[in-house]
Symmetry: D2
Subunit: 135 residues, 4 copies
């Protein structure tokens, strides 16, 4: 699935959160996903909350898996280890760069770096594992 196909999938199968995210890039190196920061994602001070960063990393990796497996997959997150390293910049979207490191028969593993838009230093990193149902 390319960028357009992933965006269509988000709108159809994740209608509840589709407005939160925008696929910026999807190619063989992985997926870049934007969190369109809105009031409900913010903590006092205007910075994106931890749960919103977690959700962004989770969806980005999910899309990276789908981009390889196609829309039939129903992968389930089984583990996420996330490090919050810096406070996101207030008033900026955050971007997740997801990279698939293993796509096995039953497990997929990847990692994600999250940045405040336009800033070079990551605000968070995550390693994620998904269970892939038998096809």
């Amino acid at each position: 699935m390319d960028k357009a196909a992933l965006a269509a999938f988000l709108r159809r199968d994740f209608a509840q959160v589709a407005d939160d995210f925008r696929v910026e890039r999807a190619d063989e190196t992985g997926v870049c996903l934007r969190l369109v920061a809105q009031e409900r994602h913010l903590r006092p001070g205007g910075t994106v909350s931890g749960p919103a960063l977690f959700a962004l990393a989770d969806v980005a990796m999910y899309l990276a898996i789908l981009s390889r497996l196609g829309p039939v997959a129903l992968a389930v997150t089984t583990n996420c280890s996330i490090d919050f390293m810096r406070k996101p910049e207030a008033g900026r979207d955050v971007l997740a760069e997801a990279r698939l490191l293993k796509l096995g028969r039953t497990l997929a593993v990847g990692d994600v770096l999250v940045y405040s838009e336009g800033k070079p230093e990551p605000v968070a990193r995550a390693g994620l594992t998904y269970s892939i149902p038998p096809r």
Copy 2:
């Protein structure tokens, strides 16, 4: 801080999410926090989403730290490793049992088990680390 003090703290300092959570217990063994499951926490099928479980675990451990340090603290989550083990039951609240394992000068560490209300088997477990600012 006891149960009432933690609930008041949530309402005052986390107004944005205070309606999502209810402190069920706070004592020397830790804190039990309920996620009052609402539409925005659910995935298709009516089960509580991963980010909502993450947020519950994060807030539960935060309150467990505050119950020991008092309301002056401004602890920041630095790491969370969460395992999603079972699908939560549709139509039920989820409860987090947070246990503080270390409260050091600069770091606090604890773990959390999350259950669908009334079910004995945990749906998720998490280990969390917080950075505690100099007092």
Copy 3:
């Protein structure tokens, strides 16, 4: 498999490390495993090293899985998230309390607390996931 069966399994299938460990308890609540601390497990100062604590947690959880599945299993560690919370006491063995939280068809998940013998506060905690091959 009970305590004696697990000990026999360790000696036969993990001869290389069997002398490092001793099964202290194995019952429905989990497995308690001792690291018999020797020179090669120690850091300068006489405290047990991080890799030795990791190995202890990993073997303890592996035995907790075997105690339920029997000796035919060939589970493989897929993830470990470990927090090092306190320096182990010099000159003491360390003990791991492993608890199985999920034994599914393809994945097993559990957590471990590690103590210096005779001390109440844990030196480390770990969450571990194992992949279980099709039977």
Copy 4:
């Protein structure tokens, strides 16, 4: 500290494990560390064990921190989340590529990819956090 300084540090301060490791590269992008695979690092079948991969990742990130802070530092590992993704190749050394993502006042965070020498696909990935003592 450059490659030669890190190697000298390993020999002097980590004499017990210095023969296990060889610094392959140290520059502004991070540190590459080799595990010189020996009998004691192997599992039946000749593949490098999980604890040996953990130790490799841990030492590689430690050296990446020292390369920036200098030899006075006494950083302590506080968390490691490691994913074991593929079985290492029998009879080959393994190489860790450590990358420092944050070097703060009290915490350093980085990640590591581990490869069997000459193979493009990683066998393990790890995220690690270190506590840095006040200077």
